[in-house]
Amino acid sequence: MKVIYFILIVSLSFLMPQAYALDLGDTLKDVIKSNVSGKTGNDSKEVSSPDAAKNEKRINFRNPSMDEEIQIGREITGNLLGAAPLVNDAALQKYVNQVGRWVANQSERGNLPWHFGVIESEDINAFAAPGGYVVITKGLYRKLENEAQLAGVLAHEIAHVTKSHHLKILQKSQLLDLGADLLGKQLGKNNQIIQKVIGSGAEICARSLDKNAEFEADRMGVTLTARAGYEPYGLPEVLQTIGQTNKNDNSVALLFKTHPHPDDRLLKLDEAIGNRLDAIKDGKTLSNRFYKLKN
């Protein structure tokens, strides 16, 4: 119930002038009320209702609680899995969760219930959604040679989550377009409304982040890999491998569209790393424990 209410508030907050969107108090409840009861509601100054006051909760999408963040990420991930399901290999899925969980433990958000998965797609790509959902394609997994490289790839995605990169995108653009569409419509179930917030299907996964957010995720990815005791060059090695793929190859089309070219990412990493990793001598690759795909 709390969640439903939150989503209502989140969705409707963007019907309002921006000045109001930052503070979702009584004003917002009034908007909800007027909207649900069928009145047209661009005006936020409606009469308050005692019923609405019972469920009072001041939530702001700009600073969602952990549960709310997870709810949003879960919806996005559900859509992504609708496009490509999990690889039907429980041992593989468990393995990536073990590696991912250990790496995520090195981040500031070890308290999230992190979920990792390999999906049935020959594309080379990986995705992160708010709340700790991380998915990599079988095509990318195929390119990996050891556990340190897997850790590096997952660490880049973990960094996107800990830095709320995708959440920020939702906050910046998508949500603000919601308004007109929701007005005059019967409000549906909570996940239908989240759907509205995240856009069509899993299109948020095809959005490009700011270039600097990607470079940041690379730097953090290398850091988390090193912290986890792995050979820290796992991620750069994968970037070198992916960089060999022909730009016109369909399998990297989306990755190359949403991320800077691997060569640029490597150059930026090189600038940031310099000799800082020289002290790390006994990082492990664990190639003998690396899970081999069945097909």
Partner: protein, 170 residues
């Protein structure tokens, strides 16, 4: 006669990795120094310019052993880009050999390839069963630690890398 054939086969199998090993090419993504050993303070044996072609012979941690037209030695991994450049080099390289991966796993089924383009993402329909399945594999923080321990991994204290040592970027 049979023995002879067997030996020949054995020789081929033995030398196959070496052949692909020799075939790994790369190019310099920036100018850098070549050193005698894989250490920052090792003796300089030469250098190369950006874009210079080189051969990759071996890998050790953050270092690659390379050979240029003039000289050879160890360079930082991040100064070199693998592959001939742009053409999508499909050869199993020295890095694959080093990790025991050569000759395996490169076979990609050509039927039933599922892409994941923008259109498919946009039209994707929510699948609750798959999310539940994904969540069923979730590991706790403690399980993660246990897994690390079983592989001999130890957490290392290490600060986040700063944006860039050279500046120039906002």
């Amino acid at each position: 006669m049979k023995m002879h054939k067997f030996l020949l086969m054995a020789l081929i199998v033995l030398f196959l990795p070496l052949m692909s090993l020799a075939a790994e090419t790369g190019s310099a993504i920036k100018a850098d120094v070549i050193r005698a050993e894989p250490y920052a303070d090792a003796k300089k044996t030469g250098d190369f310019k950006r874009g210079e072609k080189l051969q990759i012979l071996d890998k050790k941690g953050a270092w690659l052993k390379v050979k240029t037209a003039k000289t050879g030695g160890w360079v930082r991994l991040l100064s070199v880009k693998r592959g001939a450049g742009g053409s999508g080099n499909q050869l199993a390289g020295v890095l694959d050999v080093a990790s025991g991966r050569a000759g395996t796993g490169k076979v990609v089924a050509t039927t039933g390839i599922r892409g994941l383009n923008e259109e498919e993402l946009k039209n994707a329909k929510y699948n609750e069963a798959e999310v539940k399945k994904l969540e069923s594999y979730t590991q706790t923080s403690q399980q993660g630690n246990q897994f690390a321990k079983s592989g001999g991994l130890k957490a290392v204290k290490f600060n986040y890398l700063p944006e860039s040592q050279q500046g120039g970027e906002k």
